[in-house]
């Protein structure tokens, strides 16, 4: 999809390879803006962006709010803990109430898959998916692709990315697979079968149950967060066993090719999916992912709401 047709960003599938590349190029402009002494442009002045977070989040929410502010949008913030949701208000009533205040975009995070689709049926504002259940987290995938592109500087067609861990319950994995495959990268999912989706029909990925088989061949080892409650659901016998079999240990990290990156969407469980010293290696670009997240989200908001081809190069007032 091209920018002209873009109404929402609910799924990576709405973008296609062309849309992803367009957004990565727009992100380059935003990185440039962020390097300025005053990292702020008037591109979205007068626009209002609401963040509607039904689930706890630190980095995604702050990242979106920072992105909106750097584009001079007005921001409103909604969190379940202090809202009328606590009084039993329905999702639809809540979003229609917020829309009545006059808004241009809703950035939504919800524990249930599909909520961004429901919202887009009810309101006219642009809907940006900031994570829906196990389903998708498209801006995370975009910032991951941007990070891979800038750190490795090679065509995606030449890259092999291993996504390691709890793919089944991971919205990050679903969006990353869609984005990386759209860009032509080879993707291998590495997990015990209990942590893979029941069906991978149509995913067009490789699968391995043995991380040691894979580490020496990858350009990116993308490690997913292991949720602590998975042990209780009998998906893995113990977290210790998981760390032994699927954790990115120093020994495994040492077998990665010299140029290979280690990535993680955060927050990390050090000592479970990633060893503490591995997380601090120079090749672990986890904080770069976070930094790129702001620029990517600026690009997404500008792509959906902006009226110019690229943000104005003049800082301050127009």
């Amino acid at each position: 999809m091209t920018r002209a047709a873009a109404r929402h960003l609910r799924s990576i599938t709405e973008l296609g390879a062309d849309g992803i590349i367009e957004l990565l190029e727009l992100t380059d402009h935003m990185v440039e803006v962020n390097r300025r002494p005053i990292p702020k442009v008037p591109a979205l002045r007068g626009r209002t962006v609401v963040s509607l977070f039904y689930e706890d989040s630190t980095r995604t929410r702050l990242s979106f709010e920072t992105a909106a502010k750097r584009l001079s949008a007005d921001t409103m913030s909604f969190s379940v803990g202090t809202s009328s949701v606590k009084k039993g208000e329905s999702l639809r009533d809540t979003v229609e109430t917020i829309e009545a205040m006059g808004i241009d975009a809703v950035v939504v995070r919800h524990a249930s898959a599909g909520v961004p689709w429901q919202l887009s049926q009810w309101i006219d504002a642009a809907v940006v998916n900031a994570g829906d259940g196990w389903h998708e987290h498209p801006t995370q995938a975009l910032l991951d692709c941007y990070t891979i592109r800038t750190e490795l500087g090679r065509p995606f067609e030449d890259l092999h990315v291993a996504i390691v861990g709890d793919v089944k319950h991971s919205r990050v994995a679903r969006s990353d697979v869609l984005a990386l495959r759209a860009l032509g990268a080879r993707v291998t999912l590495v997990a015990p079968p209990t942590l893979l989706p029941p069906s991978l029909e149509g995913w067009d990925v490789e699968v391995s149950h043995d991380l040691d088989d894979v580490v020496a061949t990858v350009d990116v080892a993308y490690v997913l967060r292991m949720q602590l409650e998975r042990q209780e659901q009998a998906l893995v016998p113990t977290l210790r066993e998981y760390a032994t079999c699927f954790g990115l240990t120093p020994a495994r990290a040492a077998r990665l090719p010299g140029h290979a990156l280690i990535m993680h969407p955060g927050p990390m469980n050090r000592g479970v999916e990633i060893a503490p010293e591995v997380a601090d290696l120079p090749r672990a670009v986890i904080t770069k992912q976070v930094a790129n997240g702001v620029a990517v989200r600026m690009a997404v908001l500008f792509w959906l709401l902006g009226s110019e081809p690229t943000p104005s190069t003049s800082g301050g007032d127009e």
Binding site: S90, L91, R92, H110, S112, A113, G114, V115, W117, Q118, Q121, D132, G133, W134, H135, E136, R171, R174, P197, P198, S199, L200, E201, G202, W203
Partner: protein, 427 residues
């Protein structure tokens, strides 16, 4: 006004065959069936020209929601929807709030049904509160006319308890009906587990969650000799297992819903909870097998599993919304439109075969003098489009919005009373 009605110009279709005939009804009973009947003075003549006149339809599986969920449906609104769909008898599921698990609750719903636009056969829960722990007083409920017991909404998980229930039911001559879903294996999944659930990031329930309980209950039917009726079968293998059990001579019957022969799990792709239902919409292979099972006789009946829900509940996120969809006003048309079966076969699945599952004497029988006048008149060629605003049901959760259908009920007679005339309810 006279209570005499003449259905003129139709083709009578029942279990005995098909013939051109007028039908004269008086005193709640069919008086005469034959070509060119004279209209006595004062008789109400209803045009059945070009239509099929059939025994009223029988739905083994309806949620009328009363008591407890009157914002979704009442016995009155649900029975009006039933009459408009051609049904003259529906089996009301016991998962009301509170559940129909006692003689007192049976009496309450029977009292509500006294003025309904169709007969309501109240079913009872197998276990107290549908909790799956202790048997409900089935004999007391059977004494009030309850013919079918089920914990519908959930299956009886405990095999030993189900065995006892079957043995006890055999002594009463009643039917136990099972919603086959192994709760642990289903794991709270909100759609069919497969390619679509994996892609959509929704928790799924595998086909096997249904199939293991179908197999278990076939084994229990063999063990106890008791009748088992399988509700809303949705998977290809479930249909196959029941066909095998029948070939073995076991006393099993089964139903399937219109949505399981028309819709697949791909419908969930837009996350609209109107497509959330238990058992879930399955794959195209399963849909084809359900159709085949209806054609071959492996499945005895089409039952709607009409499950109204208030709009605000169906506007929750997909995984939180309650399962279920409307069915009464679209079932006949879907069967006529989508199943490649002659109308005689469709009516068998919707009328006399479900009546036989329940052992109903008054419904589904031949259209003949002396029989109770529960009749429906069907314009099998009428084309229409589903408009949720025009449904009689109190709820609006039909998955068929805007769908073009063929076949519509013109008139419905309950005990001779025209409760639907020219496609409109008379009260």
């Amino acid at each position: 006004m006279s209570d005499e009605t003449l259905l003129r110009g139709g083709t009578v279709v029942d279990a005995t065959g098909t013939r051109r005939a007028d039908v004269l009804v008086a005193g709640g009973v069919v008086q005469a069936v034959g070509e060119g009947l004279d209209a006595p003075a004062g008789v109400r003549v209803l045009d059945a020209g070009g239509c099929v006149v059939a025994p009223g339809l029988v739905d083994l599986h309806v949620h009328l929601r009363q008591p407890g969920r009157e914002e979704a449906e009442t016995v009155e609104t649900g029975s009006r929807a039933a009459a408009l769909g051609g049904f003259t008898c529906v089996v009301a599921m016991p998962n009301t709030e509170p559940a129909i698990d006692s003689a007192a609750m049976v009496r309450e719903v029977q009292a509500l049904a006294a003025t309904a636009l169709c007969d309501v056969a109240v079913s009872g829960a197998i276990t107290v509160g549908r909790a799956g722990e202790r048997l409900a007083p089935m004999a007391e409920m059977a004494a009030l006319g309850v013919r079918l017991f089920t914990d519908d909404g959930t299956g009886v998980q405990d095999a030993r308890l189900m065995r006892r229930a079957l043995e006890y039911a055999r002594g009463l001559g009643v039917v136990l009906a099972q919603h086959c879903e192994d709760a642990a294996l289903a794991g709270g999944g909100s759609m069919h587990e497969g390619a679509w659930s994996s892609r959509l990031g929704l928790p799924g329930q595998p086909a096997e969650a249904e199939e293991v309980m179908v197999l278990r209950d076939i084994a229990l039917a063999r063990l106890t000799g008791a009748r088992v009726h399988f509700q809303h079968l949705s998977t290809a293998r479930s249909v196959g297992f029941v066909a095998q059990a029948k070939a073995e001579g076991l006393p099993v019957t089964a139903e399937a819903t219109p949505h399981h022969f028309t819709l697949t799990d791909a419908c969930c792709a837009g996350y609209d909870p109107v497509f959330k239902v238990h058992p879930p919409l399955r794959t195209g292979t399963d849909v084809a097998a359900v159709r085949q099972g209806l054609a071959s006789g492996a499945l005895d009946a089409i039952a709607t599993d009409h499950a109204p829900h208030a709009p605000h509940l169906k506007e929750q996120p997909f995984d939180q919304a309650p399962p279920g969809m409307l069915g009464l006003e679209t079932a006949l048309a879907l069967a006529l439109t989508e199943l490649d079966l002659p109308i005689e076969h469709v009516l068998a699945l919707l009328s006399w075969q479900p009546a036989a599952v329940l052992g109903l004497a008054d419904h589904g029988g031949p259209v003949a003098a002396g029989r109770p006048a529960h009749l429906c008149v069907i314009d099998a060629d009428a084309e229409w489009v589903v408009d949720p605003a025009r449904l009689a049901s109190r709820a609006r959760n039909t998955p068929y919005v805007g769908r073009a259908m063929r076949g519509r009920v013109r008139h419905t007679l309950l005990r001779g009373e025209p409760v639907v005339v020219d496609g409109e309810a008379t009260r």
